[in-house]
């Protein structure tokens, strides 16, 4: 059994990994963590790569969070038209009713007086923008709302999931050096304020957060101490983050100060959540899958140049899979729910809960069907 595992691992590491690194380096897109929501490929268009702007900024004099104009995304439907609906403040409307699924950001860019009327200007970033989508928004917005449509790198609801993930990251690992995570509704990027070199974070996190987060050294950004609500006594990060829904800024050090036992005691609660934060149920429902969200424009220099013929990759991969399957059959791995907090143990516990919920499906009174038929007959 051991020899099958060893052989399959050797095949994988010797052939597949260097070949993958080479092929990944040659592409301009980087795929991100598999546990993020799967996007319908027809629904979202990939953002246009911009070779002149990097999502990981070099030390700069940046003092405020990125605005849409910093990313030089192509403008589409530069309407400059007024809305045709009756909503006075479109941002307040969406705050109350929920943001559209294809909305990336909305930024109020100023107001102006024309012929005695005050007009408020907005930049509206959409994913997979179309004239129809723009019309839908114009139908809601008021006649004094002037909307200019553009593309966004990611959807707002997706960014919320990444924001949560970054918050967990900032407190889960000691000395990671993430000081603040800033979520912006007026920009398609999350700002992550760090204490170390921005390049270090790029090198480490580009695959997971490329195209959705900007890492900025604390010297180059004004840290935000307003709109922040400390956690409550329940000492659970999920509740804490829920309370941040309007605060939008997560301070790792303040959270840890308010929750001193977090890393030691509550760590196992988080382990099942990160990095497998969005788990699937059973075998058939692969709800969350990998999907590229953004583009990394700067390519790591340490990428391997040599290429491997495709047929070699496939042959080695097939052989490795067969050996791994034989090893798995012989190994018969069983996961137990334990107290050591491993991701596998938590997934096993979750599967049991889901199975129990399925089994606890409720049944109506057996006479209900007859009552329904009587009602229909009346």
């Amino acid at each position: 059994m051991k020899k099958y595992v060893t052989l399959s691992l050797i095949l994988l590491s010797a052939v597949i990994l260097p070949a993958y690194s080479a092929s990944a380096a040659s592409q301009s897109e980087v795929s991100i963590a598999e546990d993020m929501p799967e996007r319908d490929p027809m629904e979202y268009s990939k953002p246009v790569p911009n070779e002149n702007a990097s999502t990981i900024s070099e030390p700069s004099s940046q003092v405020e969070s990125a605005s849409p104009s910093d990313y030089d995304t192509p403008m589409i439907f530069q309407r400059g038209e007024c809305g045709s609906g009756d909503v006075e403040d479109i941002i307040a409307y969406w705050e109350k009713n929920g943001y559209p699924e294809n909305l990336s950001f909305i930024a109020e860019t100023g107001s102006e007086m024309i012929d005695g009327e005050v007009y408020t200007n907005y930049d509206v970033g959409l994913v997979n923008a179309s004239e129809e989508k723009c019309e839908e928004i114009l139908d809601i917005a008021g006649s004094n709302n002037v909307l200019r449509f553009t593309t966004g790198a990611n959807a707002l609801w997706e960014r919320e999931l990444y924001f949560e993930k970054l918050c967990y990251l900032s407190v889960q690992e000691e000395d990671i050096g993430i000081l603040e995570v800033q979520f912006h509704k007026n920009s398609d990027m999350i700002t992550v304020v760090v204490s170390g070199s921005e390049k270090t974070y790029y090198d480490r996190f580009s695959k997971q957060f490329g195209g959705v987060a900007t890492f900025v050294n604390e010297r180059n950004v004004a840290t935000d101490n307003t709109g922040f609500v400390p956690g409550n006594s329940e000492n659970k990060i999920a509740n804490y983050i829920e309370k941040l829904s309007h605060a939008e800024v997560f301070h790792a050090d303040i959270f840890l100060a308010d929750n001193p036992g977090f890393r030691n005691g509550a760590h196992d609660i988080i382990e099942g959540m990160y990095p497998d934060g969005f788990t699937t149920i059973g075998n058939g429902d692969q709800e969350m899958g990998s999907s590229p969200i953004g583009n990394i424009t700067a390519i790591p220099e340490q990428a391997v140049d040599k290429s491997v013929p495709l047929w070699v990759i496939f042959a080695a991969g097939a052989a490795a899979l067969i050996l791994a399957a034989i090893a798995a059959l012989k190994l018969r791995v069983r996961f137990k729910v334990g107290t050591n907090g491993t991701a596998a143990a938590h997934r096993g516990a979750e599967d049991k809960i889901i199975s129990a919920i399925k089994s606890a499906e409720e049944q109506p009174d057996p006479r209900l069907l007859e009552k329904i038929k009587d009602n229909i007959a009346k």
């Binding site: 929501p37 009713n97 929920g98 943001y99 699924e101 609801w157 997706e158 919320e160 999931l161 949560e164 999920a238 829920e242 609660i269 099942g272 959540m273 934060g277 969005f278 788990t279 149920i281 429902d285 709800e287 729910v337 938590h346 516990a349 979750e350 049991k352 809960i353 889901i354 199975s355 129990a356 919920i357 399925k358 089994s359 606890a360 499906e361 409720e362 049944q363 109506p364 009174d365 209900l368 069907l369 009552k371 329904i372 038929k373 009602n375 229909i376």
Partner: protein
């Protein structure tokens, strides 16, 4: 953690099959209606019960849904009849709750208070039902739609009128809470 292993039917009627049965039902076939009822009464009732929290009310909601389904079946423009039926269930349950709690002025289902307890949990010997009772109503509904209804988060978002990311986030929160409760 005490999780009983009662059997559960995993036969979820596909949209394609359901469309065919609805077509027959439109033609007056009571047999087709009975097949639809047989396949969907349990998950519909479960979702209604998770929202309403009370068996009699949940049965009334289920009855309303199926009576309306027979008397006014969805037309050919509805391509996802399962989601349609569960959206009917969600709306009927929310309206019943609003009527019962005299909250007719409330515009959003999110504003209905969560203090409504699940009476069946007190009677039930299953720990999981008692644990579910401790979840907020919206999380109970998402759990029921996802597990009992078999819907994906995008579909749940459409049924409940919330963003897909919110549905996924609440599901995650619900499962974490259930795990904590059951491991106590």
């Amino acid at each position: 953690m005490n999780l009983t292993g009662a059997t559960h039917s995993t036969d979820i009627l596909s949209d394609k099959r359901l469309l065919a049965l609805i077509g027959e039902m439109r033609g007056g076939s009571m047999k087709a209606f009975e097949q639809i009822y047989s396949a969907l009464s349990k998950p519909v009732y479960t979702v209604a019960l998770r929202i309403a929290g009370e068996r009699t009310l949940a049965e009334d909601i289920t009855q309303d849904v199926f009576v309306k389904l027979y008397s006014s079946p969805p037309d050919d423009s509805v391509k996802k009849p399962r989601a349609y039926i569960f959206a009917m269930t969600h709306n009927a349950a929310i309206n019943s709750l609003k009527k019962m709690l005299r909250l007719e002025d409330i515009e959003s289902a999110e504003d209905i208070p969560d203090g409504y307890s699940l009476q069946s949990a007190a009677e039930s010997r299953l720990d999981i039902a008692a644990a579910l009772a401790k979840l907020p109503r919206t999380e109970r509904e998402i759990v029921a739609l996802h597990i009992n209804g078999g819907f994906k988060f995008r579909e749940i978002a459409q049924i409940m009128g919330i963003p897909a990311g919110t549905a996924a986030w609440r599901w995650n929160k619900a499962i974490k809470t259930l795990r904590q409760i059951l491991e106590e």
